[in-house]
């Protein structure tokens, strides 16, 4: 399964081991882990809650993975995204790509993250000393996604 949306935490080492198990063609594994910070826009953040659109989320992520596969010569890719309530230092998202050489693995991994940020239906709500608020989308994320088009 290339895409998982779950409340549970993940073990990046175990996922990498599983993704490349027994595949001697693989010469490169790239991975990215997104983590909850304790600050955003100058305010302390004590908690983050991720809402999503069940059904569409999986479909959108599958599409993004398929797009990455069509653009780069990768053997496999995995995306795990957590939903629900998370705390600072918790892991949010994991992307892993495998390839013969590092260039394709790095690029596909970065592309997956950039496209996920703007194309997968997740929304963050954060708890700050001033109350709870929805996180605004960033123009820099749109710009990052546009680089690939």
């Amino acid at each position: 399964m290339a895409v998982r949306v779950q409340t549970a935490d993940f073990d990046a080492g175990a996922e990498i081991a599983r993704l490349r198990a027994g595949d001697a063609r693989i010469g490169a594994v790239a991975s990215f882990i997104g983590v909850v910070r304790d600050v955003n826009d100058g305010d302390a953040v004590s908690e983050l809650t991720l809402e999503h659109y069940p059904g569409m989320t999986e479909k959108a992520l599958e599409k993004i993975v398929a797009e990455a596969r069509s653009r780069w010569d990768i053997y496999d890719a995995l995306v795990i995204h957590r939903v629900g309530t998370l705390k600072p230092t918790d892991q949010i998202v994991l992307v892993i790509t495998t390839s013969a050489h590092r260039g394709e693995a790095f690029k596909a991994c970065e592309f997956l993250m950039d496209y996920l940020k703007t194309g997968a239906p997740f929304w963050k709500r954060e708890q700050t000393p001033g109350g709870s608020r929805w996180v605004d989308a960033r123009e820099s994320d749109d710009a990052a996604a546009r680089r690939w088009s």
């Binding site: 809402e51 949010i92 997740f122």
Partner: protein, 93 residues
Amino acid sequence: MKPGESQAAVVRILYFARLREALGRAEEELVLPEGVRDVGSLLAFLRERGGAWADELASGRAVRAAVNQDMSDATAAIRAGDEVAFFPPVTGG
């Protein structure tokens, strides 16, 4: 549904995140009004409800849409039985 049986042109509309809260609902079923054929005209119809609907869905606001779980723009067609969703720009990752 059997052939020949009549079917009202109903669409399911979902709202997420800030929009769900501001509009006070997560979903609804709507009999497609006359003249509503795409995302843009559906938005215009919903705005006519006034209040939070007019404010939140105003043309200057960043509202994204999906039709049958695919990101869609204002020109995307809407047909009976479709699932349409409205939500703010996404903030995952």
